[in-house]
């Protein structure tokens, strides 16, 4: 009876689920942050280049 109950219980794998979702959410978050950071840097660079172009004129 005890053996049957033990066999029927789901495996204790909560820590792997937490690890899996930490990776999924973490990578998505980092990618979105990287898009924001790159966008800000490019905007700044574009502004600087435009100022330089104006000065050269």
């Amino acid at each position: 009876m005890i053996n049957t109950l033990i066999l029927q219980a789901p495996a204790e794998t909560t820590r792997y689920m937490i690890a899996g979702y930490s990776v999924i959410f973490g990578v998505m978050f980092l990618y979105i942050v990287s898009l924001i950071v790159r966008s800000r840097k490019l905007k700044q660079e574009l502004e600087t280049l435009k100022e330089l172009e104006q000065e050269n004129k």
Partner: protein
């Protein structure tokens, strides 16, 4: 840079709501799997990540064909955007799959046909970025990138069908329950959560692609102005 379109702002909100709903369904709606336990919940977003990976690689191949036919730089921007997003999501699918494997198979990695073809596929697309880094001329870079995106797409259907043509321990999700001994039966709630996750990640892909294309246009504009200033 053009101001953010209203449609994109709406899509951002819709995507966020869909994502939160999908997370809620995974943790509170889908039942606990009887054998694998909690780690099975990784399956919903693991497959969705892999789906986004394959979808983006396909979009990049189509953009590559469009670029070679029309010689329009916008298709190069689309191709690069699609591959970058897909590369990230496919990598997440591989890592989360490895964690799932540890919980259910007892090993982090095995040279199973699906795992091997997925790893090769990811490496093939990693080389795409190296190829682009090595070419300075934008038009040449776009042309080589387009050809590479088309050729490398061969690895995607190979990865998809690998579990159907080779003996494997990886579960076959679509139409393969009888063929694979390692498949598990999905209850209606599990299936609903799975399909909703696929839909959500497809929308996430469209949203991110739109943002990444805007970033690509900005990078193109900056590069053009930089070259002009240097001359």
């Amino acid at each position: 840079m053009e101001p953010k379109p209203r449609m994109l702002a709406i899509l951002d909100v819709v995507t966020t709501l869909l994502f939160l709903t999908a997370v809620g369904m995974v943790f509170f709606y889908a039942p606990l799997e009887a054998i694998m336990g909690q780690v099975q919940r990784v399956f919903y977003f693991h497959v969705a990540n892999a789906w986004v990976g394959m979808l983006g690689f396909m979009v990049a191949a189509i953009a590559g064909i469009a670029y070679l036919r029309k010689n329009d730089r916008k298709w190069d921007i689309v191709g690069l955007a699609a591959i970058e997003i897909s590369f990230v999501f496919f990598l997440t699918a591989i890592i989360s799959g490895s964690i799932w494997a540890r919980g259910s198979w007892g090993t982090w990695w095995t040279w199973d046909p699906r795992l091997t073809t997925a790893a090769i596929c990811e490496l093939v697309y990693a080389a795409y970025f190296m190829l682009r880094q090595g070419i300075e001329d934008p038009d040449r870079r776009a042309r080589f990138g387009a050809v590479y995106a088309i050729l490398s797409f061969i690895s995607v259907p190979l990865t998809f069908i690998s579990i159907r043509i080779f003996r494997t321990i990886h579960p076959v999700i679509f139409g393969g329950a009888a063929a694979s001994g390692s498949s598990f039966e999905m209850s209606p709630k599990m299936l609903q959560t799975f399909m909703f996750s696929l839909l959500t990640f497809s929308i996430i892909f469209i949203d991110l692609l739109w943002h990444r294309i805007r970033l690509g246009k900005l990078a193109d504009e900056t590069e053009a102005l930089r070259l002009k200033t240097l001359q």
